[in-house]
């Protein structure tokens, strides 16, 4: 376990302290916890994009796309710095424990380097980042202080690039997959979707902040869960089906398993 300390970064172009007068103690604690976790999460997600670069090279994908992914590494690190500035503005030191981080899978069991990288592109770009766009855009609508909206605008504009990258690659490359590659990728969708559900299910146990709390970034767990489910069912699944993948069948399997559990 190491420590992520972004105090120096937060001091550069620091945000003015936010007016927290209307925010309840519980919502303020929730907002502080949310921004701290987001700082760590954004920082750690940089490594996921870093690993993606290698997979893209192995699959022989276009150099300009690989270059864009390398830029995404920097963007995620920048998001962590932005979160650090918000933390200071709501009265918290931007210091947190950085947990031991899992390795990003290289999918050696995949049928080809292309299928291997598409597994990660779908999981990251089409699923995680598309959900992130919907969640951050929702949060941005409810944000109060102008400085906070600017931070969320910056994060959102990058998440849009990350999501668009995923859909661009999958829509271009999926049609050229062999029957075997497609079958293997379809099978992976069950794992990818189950992971999405597991990752986002804690929303259901989160508190639901009031309007003043939402304005400074306290979460509303049930609302976030609705955003997640709607994004998966109305956007991600139909989008992957459009690319020729059996996403609906995979989602049904995940839903059936979890509802039966």
């Amino acid at each position: 376990m190491s420590t992520l300390d972004l105090r120096r970064d937060a001091r550069r172009d620091a945000l003015a302290p936010l007016d927290l007068g209307d925010v309840s103690a519980a919502d303020l604690a929730s907002a502080r916890s949310n921004w701290r976790e987001r700082m760590v999460s954004e920082h750690a997600s940089a490594r996921v994009f870093g690993e993606l670069v290698g997979g893209m090279m192995r699959a022989g994908l276009p150099a300009d796309e690989t270059h864009r992914v390398a830029e995404m590494v920097r963007q995620e690190l920048d998001h962590a710095r932005l979160c650090a500035k918000v933390l200071v503005a709501i009265g918290v030191e931007p210091v947190a424990e950085l947990p031991e981080l899992a390795y990003v899978p290289s999918h050696e069991d995949a049928t080809s380097p292309l299928e291997a990288v598409l597994r990660n592109v779908i999981s990251i770009g089409c699923c995680s980042e598309t959900v992130a766009v919907a969640l951050v855009a929702t949060e941005r609508e409810l944000a109060g202080p102008r400085s906070l909206r600017r931070v969320l605008d910056q994060i959102l504009s990058d998440e849009i690039k990350h999501s668009r990258f995923g859909w661009r690659l999958v829509s271009r490359l999926a049609p050229s997959l062999s029957v075997g590659e497609r079958a293997s990728l379809d099978a992976y969708l069950v794992d990818a979707f189950a992971h999405q559900v597991r990752f986002h299910a804690p929303f259901l146990d989160m508190p639901c902040a009031g309007e003043a709390g939402l304005a400074v970034g306290a979460p509303h767990g049930r609302s976030n869960w609705l955003v997640f489910m709607a994004t998966m069912e109305d956007i991600v699944i139909p989008g992957l089906e459009r690319c020729g993948l059996s996403a609906r069948e995979a989602w049904r399997e995940v839903a059936g398993v979890d509802r039966a559990a």
């Binding site: 766009v133 189950a194 509802r259």
Partner: protein, 106 residues
């Protein structure tokens, strides 16, 4: 929780979903996805009192998706999962066997 707050959240969600739909989709599918997001928004804003109840009810109705084990949401888990070892199927025809295994595992 007030009706006003619930309506604001519904409208904010609709905007978020609309943006995600624009990015994720192309051609005719985009219109379908946008239509879904807009339908949700219209339903929430035209019947705000009902929306208060449906907001919670909808979330609860979707709780069935919540895994009984393995919830995370933690930082190290953001990213693609590795498939379970030695259980990869080589074709979709193997789906029933996989389903049974997964149900048993939980």
């Amino acid at each position: 929780m007030t009706t006003h707050e619930s309506t604001r959240r519904s409208e904010a969600r609709a905007k978020g979903l609309r943006l995600a739909a624009k990015i994720a989709t192309c051609g005719g599918l985009a219109m379908a996805a946008l239509g879904l997001a807009e339908a949700r928004a219209a339903g929430a804003s035209s019947t705000p009192t009902h929306a208060v109840a449906s907001d919670d009810a909808k979330a609860l109705s979707l709780e069935g998706f919540k895994p009984s084990v393995g919830n995370c949401g933690c930082t190290p888990c953001w990213g693609p999962p590795a498939p379970p070892a030695k259980t990869r199927r080589s074709a979709r025809s193997a789906r029933p066997a996989r389903s049974a295994r997964r149900r048993g595992a939980r």
